[in-house]
């Protein structure tokens, strides 16, 4: 594809880009549902139906799609939390698709996750110190207290926060704790799953700035998943639009946003309410309308 970034070039055997931070080829994940009949085989849900893409080191890659499109399945596979039905995921040149859990230690260090719900992803019975240090414990690192203090400072919390519990923080602060935990093992790739969709607009801006600062300062690769195309537009260089288990469109964010090619992308962009559109007289009915019935 013309917009693919250029790495070391594809491996002639596997087709994976050898220089990519993350390289995914023809990834499929099928789930078996409970049988509904004795005579028929159990129905199968195809959550991912052949997804391929490459994320270059240092790139900010967006994955956009709505509930049920398969983006969470994709994330779980990238993070080695689930097994693919077929296809391969390579992280920094190593195939993680068929590795047993005990060999995924390197992945846990290189790739970290920030989740959507900052309450659900922090253990309410653990102090912030232990939450942030947990990945370090798993990696067997020493000198943890100093590192925790340093991380809390990096995400804009004071050192005293270490002694408190998650419920004592607001949503935005909890998301900062989540980010501090993700950064603890010095990962090279951060995968953020809807990190700001549970936050207020003013807090959203603060957290987006924080993510941007940290990713720039530490030179991280960012995979940013969201249903909100306008947030992705601000954060990412390149975006893939996922619909029904497949990537329907991919390209530089500006290009996809300004000139969407796939009808689904057009519907998605059309449905995003913005202040500009609203003040220009776009009503809720216009947003709900499919773009093909709209004047070109």
């Amino acid at each position: 594809m013309a917009d693919e970034p250029r790495g070391l070039g594809p491996d002639p055997d596997t087709g994976h880009d050898r220089g990519a931070a993350i390289s995914v080829r023809d990834l499929r994940r099928h789930y078996r549902r409970p049988r509904t009949s004795l005579r028929q085989p159990a129905p199968v849900v195809e959550a991912l139906r052949g997804v391929s893409f490459d994320v270059m080191p240092g790139e900010h890659f967006g994955i956009v799609g709505e509930s049920g499109c398969g983006k969470s399945t994709l994330l779980r596979l990238l993070a080695g939390l689930d097994r693919a039905t077929s296809g391969t995921v390579m992280v920094e040149g190593r195939d993680i698709t068929r590795l047993p859990d005990r060999k995924l230690g390197f992945l846990r260090q290189r790739l970290q996750l920030v989740f959507q719900d900052p309450m659900g992803s922090l253990d309410p019975r653990m102090r912030v110190r232990d939450i942030v240090a947990e990945p370090l414990v798993a990696q067997g690192e020493t000198g943890r207290d100093e590192r925790v203090a340093e991380l809390l400072e990096a995400v804009g919390l004071d050192r005293g926060a270490a002694d408190r519990y998650p419920h004592q923080f607001s949503g935005g602060q909890r998301q900062r704790i989540s980010i501090a935990r993700a950064l603890a093992p010095r990962p090279r790739i951060i995968v953020a799953d809807e990190p700001v969709s549970a936050l207020d607009v003013s807090v959203r801006a603060q957290v987006l700035n924080l993510i941007a600062d940290l990713v720039d300062d530490l030179g991280l690769t960012l995979v940013f998943v969201s249903h909100d195309l306008s947030v992705v537009r601000h954060v990412c260089d390149r975006v893939a639009v996922v619909h029904d288990g497949q990537i329907v469109e991919t390209g530089p964010t500006e290009q996809v946003y300004e000139d969407p090619q796939h009808p689904y992308t057009q519907t998605l962009i059309n449905a995003v309410p913005t202040l500009e559109k609203a003040l220009a007289g776009v009503t809720a009915a216009d947003l709900a309308r499919r773009p093909d019935t709209r004047k070109a």
């Binding site: 003013s202 601000h234 449905a271 202040l275």
Partner: protein, 345 residues
């Protein structure tokens, strides 16, 4: 034509108050344990008018809505006055009998979480029918016609195959479909006032667009007044005509959507508009933010509630800023307002 009015009447009533007003709120306060969580809120909404209430989490938006519905949890005490057209009683402090006759008939509400708003053990058709039956008596309480009316309502809010849907349970629907069902329940009795508390926040963008469209059409067809609570400025600009900005339990600015969101006068509104604009960045490519965080309930500063986060704040802000009227329906409570030039749009 700037005149100074006491802060206790933020939303200046229209030139000819009365006849068309569906809801009149004045001096509404909610206190808990000596802390004022909502203070001196006053506004009117006319029939067919769509008004937004915006602000961050913890600013008192939802409490205001619950106070209007008489649904405040134990321990929270409302004071002031809430009057709704067609209801003779004062709603603040009214007994449960009066309130339950009003709820769902004159004032209805759409909540953020459609799963918790619906009864998981009841078929959805029954839930819509229940809201109809509960406000009817005698000969009107005909089950068959009510059931038909319920199916008709489900059809109106765009639930596919409404007859079959009426026999299904809430868990069998997606989030967007459930929110449509909640909307059908809310609109069942053609309420004079529909309160929507973040109705589309939990939904995907394309679903949000369709549900917003249904809500706007639903209230337009009924000429209901609407109070729409959200923290999303773009949603409020799409769905509403007028907007009130709330912070620290007080209305700090009010006016027509275009005016407030393109020429915000209060420094808080200005910050909110700046922070929601994802295309405006500084030279480092960073978004505009409001410094600090929303204080915990009851910890807002005295005087101007925003002064602890405001870069323009000085000694004069330690007194409660007076309400400054800037138009027939607009005004703000700020002693250092932003200038009137267009900042955006």
């Amino acid at each position: 034509m700037t005149t100074v009015r006491p802060t206790r009447d933020p939303a200046e009533p229209p030139a000819t108050p009365g006849a068309d007003d569906v809801v009149t709120v004045s001096d509404l306060s909610v206190t808990a344990g000596g802390h004022a969580l909502v203070a001196d809120v006053g506004f009117r909404i006319r029939a067919g008018e769509r008004v937004g209430l915006i602000g961050e989490s913890g600013s008192g938006k939802s409490l205001t809505a619950l106070a209007l519905m008489g649904l405040l949890p134990d321990g929270l005490h409302p004071s002031g006055s809430v009057r709704v057209a067609g209801v003779d009683a004062e709603l603040v402090g009214a007994d449960e009998r009066t309130l339950s006759a009003v709820r769902g008939r004159d004032v209805a509400m759409v909540f953020q979480e459609p799963m918790t708003a619906l009864n998981p053990t009841m078929r959805v058709g029954q839930q819509v029918a229940e809201s109809l039956l509960i406000h009817r008596s005698g000969a009107q309480r005909d089950r068959r016609s009510t059931q038909a009316a319920a199916v008709e309502l489900l059809d109106q809010v765009g639930v596919p195959d409404p007859a079959a849907a009426a026999r299904a349970y809430p868990h069998q629907f997606s989030g967007g479909q459930r929110q449509r069902i909640v909307l059908a329940v809310a609109l069942a009795n053609d309420p004079a006032l529909l309160i929507c508390d973040e109705p589309t926040t939990a939904l995907d963008v394309t679903v949000q667009a369709r549900v917003l469209d249904l809500i706007v059409r639903g209230v337009e067809e009924r000429r209901s007044a609407m109070l729409f609570i959200t923290h999303d400025l773009a949603v409020v600009a799409t769905a509403c005509e007028r907007v009130m900005v709330m912070y620290g339990g007080r209305i700090v600015e009010a006016g027509p959507v275009r005016e407030v969101l393109t020429r915000p006068r209060h420094r808080y509104t200005q910050g909110l508009v700046g922070a929601s604009d994802l295309s405006a960045v500084d030279d480092r490519g960073r978004l505009v933010t409001i410094p600090g965080t929303v204080p915990a309930a009851g910890r807002f500063p005295s005087g101007c509630v925003f002064r602890s986060r405001c870069t323009w704040a000085d000694d004069t802000c330690s007194d409660l800023p007076p309400w400054t009227t800037t138009g027939p329906e607009s005004g703000h409570a700020c002693v250092h307002p932003a200038s009137e030039e267009v900042t955006r749009g």
